[in-house]
């Protein structure tokens, strides 16, 4: 073992104390945030314009402190979840390639049928796979490719459902391609367009789409409350430090009753307004998926405008996600399974590497790890002593 746990004991003790102290401070700040949420509940219209400039959650027609109780769901509906995993390209490997594996589960509520489990792996190895707009596909760019593969898979599965079926498609994470922020404008536009086309495909099937984020860290509502407390003045809000800046939004919404959701907000992300608007403008709400008598479990749910603006579709997303989450307790069952179907375990990774070697040998391509990788394989397996 090279991680000397004994050297961490003191730091661990200090960490525990620090967290306990922070909890007390946060409790006061949360109380403050809830007070502002109620105090400025009807200032939505006044805040809408400055909120976008301040990169805060943009209010909709809902009062800021609105609470929407759990709606009923149809006796039968289909919940399709997708998630993705990847193997990043590695120049130290025997060949330069990447792998994307998308897992998906089609769960038909109330049918008594066995859900459909899908797992679809794709290797990227051609020049056109490895270079996109002359940029090497790795890191964030591979994440974007994985997100696109996931939403395309969801659109395919929605299209395979009968037209009369009530279907909800859900991705794990976000509908906003945040990683595009650091890419050139032409690339950003092209990828966002690809993504939006898939949202269009889902819409055309009659299904609804949403993203589910468990324990989200975003703080856009906290920024909105600070702005509201500074009289909706962006300049003033920028100059004064936000006392709520370290609080995640979900902390404030832990007061939501079981099954209830918060008001709807619009994401202030510039990608959202530049590329998703107006039809697919991403809205979000916070949702307590926990049942009565257990601690709240707050998730952030994102939906495009065509779902947010339709009360029936929005109620379906709300009710269906809670119904799925209540199967496990507090997380949608189909998303757990989609993650499991996408996950690439260590033994699977080893078997995949063996397949790569075999195919290279058969094709007469010389195979060798880089010296760095070779020695890592020697030192990272079955090590018993660190000195």
């Amino acid at each position: 073992m090279t991680l000397e746990l004994s050297r961490l004991a003191e730091q661990m003790r200090e960490m525990g104390q620090e967290l306990a102290t922070r909890e007390e401070e946060y409790a006061k700040l949360i109380a403050q945030a809830r007070q502002w949420l109620a105090q400025y509940a009807d200032r939505g219209e006044q805040l809408r314009h400055p909120a976008r400039a301040f990169h805060a959650a943009i209010p909709t027609d809902d009062p800021l402190d609105a609470q929407h109780s759990l709606p009923g769901v149809p006796e039968r509906f289909t919940f399709i979840a997708a998630d993705g995993a990847e193997i990043q390209p590695d120049s130290h490997e025997m060949a330069y390639y990447y792998l994307i594996n998308v897992g998906a589960l089609v769960y038909r509520h109330g049918s008594g049928q066995t859900p459909e489990a899908h797992s679809q792996p794709t290797i990227g190895y051609t020049e056109s796979d490895l270079y996109d707009h002359d940029q090497l596909v790795s890191g964030n760019l591979l994440d974007i490719k994985r997100d696109l593969t996931e939403i395309t898979r969801l659109a395919d599965l929605c299209a395979a459902e009968p037209a009369e079926a009530t279907t909800i498609a859900v991705v794990d994470g976000t509908l906003i391609l945040w990683t595009l922020r650091d890419t050139p404008p032409a690339y950003q536009r092209a990828k966002a367009l690809d993504y939006v086309r898939q949202l269009d495909r889902i819409r055309e099937t009659g299904a609804v789409v949403a993203a589910f984020i468990s324990r989200p860290r975003r703080g856009e509502v906290m920024r909105l409350l600070h702005l509201a407390n500074e009289g909706s003045e962006v300049k003033q809000a920028n100059e004064k430090p936000n006392p709520l800046r370290h609080l995640p939004d979900y902390a404030v919404f832990e007061m939501l009753p079981p099954g209830a959701r918060s008001a709807l907000f619009v994401s202030p992300a510039s990608i959202n307004h530049d590329h998703y608007a107006p039809v697919h403008t991403i809205h979000f709400f916070y949702l307590n998926v926990a049942a009565e008598g257990v601690p709240p479990a707050i998730a952030r749910v994102e939906v495009p405008a065509w779902v947010a603006d339709d009360a029936e579709r929005l109620a379906l997303v709300h009710g269906a996600i809670v119904a799925q989450a209540r199967i496990t307790g507090d997380y949608p069952y189909a998303l757990v399974r989609a993650d499991e179907l996408a996950f690439i375990s260590s033994p699977e990774r080893e078997a995949f590497d063996d397949m790569v070697v075999s195919s290279l040998v058969r094709a007469g391509v010389p195979t060798a790890l880089s010296p760095k990788k070779f020695f890592k394989t020697l030192t990272r397996q079955g090590k018993r002593k660190f000195r």
Partner: protein
């Protein structure tokens, strides 16, 4: 009686004394304790015969989550049909053979990993149990519920025959056991009582 040849799973681990195979889901007939199974040997045309003596389901943390809860039927089906929770089935090797002969002895080589394992057809069971020397391999096996396995295998062999032939087989099997366990009358009595109850 049945003459269909059913694949029951693929070999996971193997030795000359026995092997373990995995299958994805329990079916009404397979895998069942005391069933005769057959795997192809490494040599062309060769076969290895065995008896299932243990069927176990691996523990699974996610499946545990649903114990005691009011679990929807869709989840139960997903866990049983789709999820890769392998059922491990242990087999005691009791014979081997080629196209012409069957020997009641340990095979010279185990089957190969991921080879298919089949449930023996009634005809294969009748051929294999036309002699009863394999009783000795069961009685001598360690970490196997030998008496239960012997009784189950005798019952299965009798069921692979017509009613009259089955009765004659049971009598022959009882006589063979009496000869082998002449020095252990208590154990013999227990075995015969269980056979009569079958």
């Amino acid at each position: 009686m049945s003459d269909k040849r059913l694949s029951v799973g693929r070999v996971l681990r193997a030795g000359t004394q026995g092997f373990v195979f995995g299958c994805e889901a329990l079916q009404p007939e397979i895998p069942k304790f005391g069933t005769f199974v057959r795997a192809d040997g490494v040599a062309p045309g060769s076969a290895i015969y065995g008896l299932i003596y243990d069927v176990s389901l691996e523990d699974d943390l996610f499946a545990r989550h649903f114990i005691g809860a009011d679990t929807p039927e869709e989840v139960v089906r997903d866990q049983r049909v789709n999820r890769q929770v392998p059922i491990e089935v242990s087999v005691l090797a009791v014979g081997c053979g080629d196209r012409e002969t069957i020997l009641h002895c340990l095979p010279p080589q185990p089957p190969v990993t991921l080879d298919w394992l089949y449930q023996c057809t009634d005809e294969e069971v009748r051929t294999f149990t036309s002699r009863l020397d394999y009783f000795q391999l069961i009685l001598g096996a360690r970490q196997v519920p030998t008496d239960e396995l012997l009784v189950a295998s005798i019952r299965n062999a009798a069921e692979a025959r017509t009613e009259r032939e089955g009765e004659m087989f049971l009598v022959d099997a009882g006589r063979e056991l009496a000869r082998m366990l002449a020095g252990d009358p208590l154990r013999l009595e227990g075995l015969l009582r269980r056979l009569r109850a079958a």
